[in-house]
Subunit: 399 residues, 2 copies
């Protein structure tokens, strides 16, 4: 067992439970004789480079619990990929603090950051245990059955569609909702969990995994409106045409240093799709909402399973690092087979998780490419947990 200080940080887009992972790791480290000081870097590797740290042992148990139950990244976050010269500066900083354990909570870009730091540390002969702790509302990390952050964001999306479908029943028309998920449709797909009755929305679901075609989209909406007199549509921000070109990129230009297009924080895609339905389908009442950052940061709508697992992946990362059987890796969630939902945790090589994204498997998507399957619902339901109970007059459902 290597002894030394530890540094932990958060990176990428916040989630509702990323602080559970942070606190899980901190509480696990506090119990380990191998770990001395517990530093938190502000805003990910930016804090390491700027020398901006906090001493997490100085925070009270009560504060730690309050932070665990608070959405977003309590240490601040960053979107930055370290260069070789960043890494040299990082090792100098870590050396000064005698840090021998490094934990980084984030998605696949963050896993890539850990992978780079781990490779550069070996090259620089700086002894450092490097662990990635998974987090992403997109649910797109390879090697994982699902990722912390997804269940709670999926719950928000499912609740939002429960409400939006009720709204659309009251004042009918076409309603288009744009949901986060750059490459993977898992979060958009979670909208289907809102359905309880045969004619409940969302009636159509469009995912990045299938090419999006404006004519087919228009036809699909017209058919639903002809049948029900209304239509609620879930659309991923990441939908692309058959050339793989983002539909949204026709309007949006900004990119981050990982080369990702900025899709959220703009209503352009939804407004464009609404305009298409107005003009091509000749339907007058068409509205679009873009759920935006509420999906990842809204407080109080948390999946209990997600919160528990998020805490656990943090704790597992520290336990495995201290054990020392491997000196680097990413914690992955695996689902046990069997009727009852249960998971185990594994440590997998960083390069298996870094950078690349996992997509919705084909058996989760219907043939027409405009809905999910029962297999997806069975997969997602235990991650989200119970939703608010919705009441209808029996005589209204018959109509």
């Amino acid at each position: 067992m290597q002894t030394g200080n530890m540094l932990i940080a958060q990176s990428g887009g916040p989630s509702m439970v990323i602080n559970q992972s942070l606190i899980g790791a901190v509480l696990s480290a506090a119990k380990s004789p191998a770990i001395g000081r517990i530093y938190g870097a502000r805003h990910g590797i930016k804090g390491i480079l700027d020398g901006s740290f906090i001493d997490l042992r100085r925070e009270t148990a009560r504060t730690l619990e309050a932070v665990a139950h608070t959405p977003s990244s309590a240490l601040g976050s960053v979107r930055r990929k370290p260069t070789p010269s960043d890494c040299a500066a990082i090792f100098q900083a870590l050396h000064r603090l005698d840090v021998r354990y490094f934990f980084y909570i984030g998605g696949n870009d963050s896993a890539e950051t850990v992978h780079i730091i781990n490779e550069e540390a070996k090259r620089a002969r700086y002894e450092l245990a490097c662990f990635h702790i998974p987090k992403t509302i997109d649910n797109d990390l390879r090697e994982n059955d699902h990722t912390p952050g997804y269940g709670s964001a999926a719950k928000f999306v499912a609740c939002a569609f429960q409400g939006d479908d009720l709204d659309n029943r009251a004042l009918s028309g076409v309603k288009i909702d744009i949901i986060m998920g750059r490459h993977a449709g898992f979060l958009t797909a979670a909208s289907a969990l809102a359905r309880q009755n045969p004619d409940d929305g969302p009636h159509l679901i469009y995912l990045p995994e299938r090419p999006f075609d404006l004519d087919r989209f228009t036809d699909d909406v017209k058919k639903v409106v002809a049948r029900l007199g209304r239509c609620v549509v879930a659309v991923s921000e990441g939908i692309s045409d058959d050339q793989g070109e983002l539909i949204a990129s026709r309007f949006i230009k900004e990119t981050d240093t990982h080369g990702n297009k900025q899709l959220s924080g703009s209503g352009a895609l939804g407004d464009m799709l609404a305009q298409v339905i107005r003009t091509r389908a000749g339907i007058s009442r068409v509205r679009a909402d873009t759920f935006g950052y509420l999906q990842r940061s809204f407080p109080g709508v948390v999946s209990a399973v997600d919160a528990r697992e998020a805490r656990e992946v943090g704790a597992v990362a520290v336990r495995e690092a201290v054990k020392g059987a491997v000196t680097s890796g990413s914690v992955a969630i695996r689902r046990k087979t069997g009727a009852k939902y249960a998971v185990t945790y594994a440590v997998v090589p960083l390069r298996h998780v870094a950078r690349e994204t996992r997509h919705m498997p084909s058996n989760f998507i219907n043939r027409a490419g405009n809905d999910v399957t029962q297999a997806f619902l069975d997969y997602a339901r235990p991650l989200v947990g119970p939703l608010p109970k919705i009441g209808h007059f029996r005589q209204m459902l018959g109509s």
Copy 2:
């Protein structure tokens, strides 16, 4: 005490507690010997004209309670102002059903509908008790201290800003959130309830009650960014320039039959304001979210006070109608003076509530016109109730 059947319907934009008012009225009517059948019209006056009714006595007590706790309008809604010939057709329909009690749940446009029906009924010598039951998330009904629906929508907005401010702390930049409220800023103002610490957002709040100027807005944002390195802004969809022209109307054309511009269901205003900050203030990370319909229909985020009062205004309307001291009116909520929050209910003439909107009083808005005052916070806090607890590392707040 007049005896006869009763008809109830819902109109205008849904809210999270409009069904509480419906069920409050139905349960109160079910106990009254004056009332025979209890009809619900589907989609407001449209259902009366179409002959589309349900028999609310046929629904079980359990269904009634489930519906009460479900957002949106369980009977369906409509935005339609009755013409004199509509009224004639309405009285024929009501006569066929022997309806002598008419209740309509909605905002100021719905109050106008009740007022028109009441006046036309007198002219047609059709004996009908006409009562308006207040509902609007905009909180803009005259004669009322506040309106059912506001507290819950305000809670959603306050929660959303809690989360969004945490998100903005994690990944800094300028974040602009567009909030519902066509003429009155009460809902946008509720964003201020999210603040707990001195540098918590929203840092700027723009209301329809004050002229909006793009240059002043840009300067305000630049100042906050210079001080905090970030800025969260709450903007009402109803902001207008010094000529009274809606800023959003530069992008949006659709109107309803009451002559209202359709503002929600589009991200155009937020995207435009974000673009202004990017170009005029030279800030690169600027995002805009438009909260949209989630504010009025998201399930599970309800103010307990709001739910209770929403049920009560429905019950009061029926009790007062059956009592017969007045044959028409609108139920209004009045706040008792004193340290402890408490309300009473009054019946006021329909014309006092119809059509016109109530605005934020001047003492609720700061001098610069870009924030609310302590008086507003004291006014709004009891209507919203407790918010999710937010935890921060003490060392992060000091930064």
